[in-house]
């Protein structure tokens, strides 16, 4: 009985140590290596996208795909392949969880005049051009689910670049369907979608 009594505070301290607040977590070297490019509160710093508030499963999958070199567009190759090269599975999991819990700010940097057109494409697609409605996978507020990324509030330039890259033939980490979908989008469609999304909460 006495043994358990002394053990309790130790266990409590251990639990408090592991469940630390985001502020104190920011001291960890792994996180500092990320925020160096992705911004102090992971809101993004061009060309590095916002990580704050992103789906944990999506971040986790992308770090694995950087490690395997299956996400192969230029910025990924130059910056993220080395960055993700030496991360252990546990670190990958912890980083993904950490960033997913940070509050996200919207970039609000798209072209305002294109928002309405972007919203229409997002919610209804363009059946005559065989473009599906983004909402079906990415959700009504572009919040994503499971491994499907949150798009709401990401930077206009980043969203635009990703859509262009798939149309150019760069791989998407998790496989179809984004390259095929993006291949059906005109430059104006891309600008409209990216603009609309950049203003979402």
């Amino acid at each position: 009985m006495m043994k358990h009594f002394r053990l309790a505070p130790a266990i409590l301290a251990f639990i408090c140590f592991t469940i630390t607040s985001p502020a104190s977590r920011a001291e960890s070297p792994s996180v500092r290596n990320c925020t160096w490019c992705h911004g102090g509160r992971a809101q993004g710093y061009s060309p590095a996208p916002r990580l704050a508030g992103q789906r944990a499963e999506y971040i986790w999958h992308q770090l694995i795909e950087f490690n395997r070199h299956t996400r192969d567009n230029p910025f990924s190759k130059w910056y993220m392949w080395p960055a993700a090269a030496n991360l252990s599975p546990k670190t990958v999991h912890d980083l993904a969880t950490y960033f997913s819990m940070l509050p996200a700010q919207s970039a609000n940097d798209g072209e305002i005049a294109l928002i309405a057109q972007g919203k229409t494409i997002y919610q209804q697609g363009m059946p005559d051009s065989n473009v599906v409605a983004c909402v079906v996978c990415h959700g009504p507020a572009a919040e994503g689910v499971r491994e499907i990324p949150r798009l709401g509030g990401l930077e206009y330039a980043y969203l635009k670049r990703r859509l262009e890259q798939w149309g150019q033939g760069y791989a998407v980490a998790a496989g179809p369907p984004m390259p095929h979908i993006a291949g059906n989008l005109s430059p104006r469609d891309i600008a409209a979608i990216a603009s609309y999304l950049s203003f979402l909460e």
């Binding site: 209804q124 697609g125 059946p127 005559d128 065989n130 473009v131 599906v132 409605a133 909402v135 079906v136 996978c137 990415h138 959700g139 009504p140 919040e143 994503g144 689910v145 499971r146 499907i148 496989g175 179809p176 369907p177 095929h180 979908i181 430059p187």
Partner: protein, 233 residues
């Protein structure tokens, strides 16, 4: 490059139009774009038979959501498996979206641009696909689900699903294949049956047959049946 003045004028015009309209494309791409621009949308002339190119493009469009082998996908919404589906069921559902017998804004947008020939072509294509089921349902529910599927729930006056859907859940005619269907999709359909199907009072349809079944099954019975069929091949 062209020696004739007329040709040069045409070239100058084409380049001017290209820069204004299309931006920095190669000349070859511009000529191609101009050629296609004069053809017009394919479905404006509904000549009956869907061209192979149009059909293939439309199949790619369906598969963007329904999966590269139409196995279904768990997006924000569960997107059902179309692979191996009964053509009679698929065609009826596409018409149901158009006629507002079945309520679904996304699928109405998709379906109302499809010609009857295109609908037949799509149904025939998906019937021939046989990917593995997506899986993922709780395994512990399968035994109870099999019992309900094969024997019904006599106390609640619910017939065995197998009686209409077939012992292997492959369906027939307008009765859908359930084998390999997505677990969350089957649940969603059964739970929302009365709110989504048979919505056009002026066009009664076969979905009425399922209404008493969907209504009488409890949520846990629905989940069990959904889990069972989701693993069937």
């Amino acid at each position: 490059m062209n020696a004739f003045p007329m040709g040069s004028s045409i070239m100058i015009f084409v380049r001017h139009w290209q820069r204004r309209t299309l931006g920095a494309l190669s000349l070859q791409a511009t000529i191609l774009a101009a050629a296609f621009a004069t053809v017009g949308p394919a479905n404006a002339v509904d000549s009956g038979a869907a061209s192979q190119a149009d059909l293939q493009a439309k199949i790619g469009y369906c598969q963007d959501c329904h999966g590269s082998s139409a196995q279904g996908y768990r997006g924000y919404l569960p997107i059902p498996r179309l692979a191996g589906q009964q053509p009679g069921y698929l065609e009826n559902q596409l018409r149901a979206f158009i006629e507002h017998r079945r309520t679904n804004n996304i699928m109405f947008n998709v379906a109302h641009t499809l010609s009857p020939a295109m609908i037949s072509g799509l149904a025939a294509h998906f019937r021939g696909l046989h990917p593995e089921p997506l899986g993922g349902a709780p395994r512990e529910l399968v035994a109870a689900g099999e019992n309900i599927f094969q024997n019904g729930v006599p106390d609640a006056n619910i017939a065995a699903c197998a009686a209409c859907h077939g012992p292997q859940a492959t369906g027939t005619g307008q009765i859908p294949r359930l084998a390999g269907q997505l677990y969350p999709y089957v649940i969603k359909e059964l739970v929302n049956w009365g709110k989504e199907r048979g919505q056009n009072p002026t066009i009664p349809d076969t979905s009425a047959i399922m209404s008493p079944v969907a209504h009488s099954l409890t949520k846990s019975q629905i989940e069990a049946v959904a889990a069972y069929v989701s693993y069937l091949k």
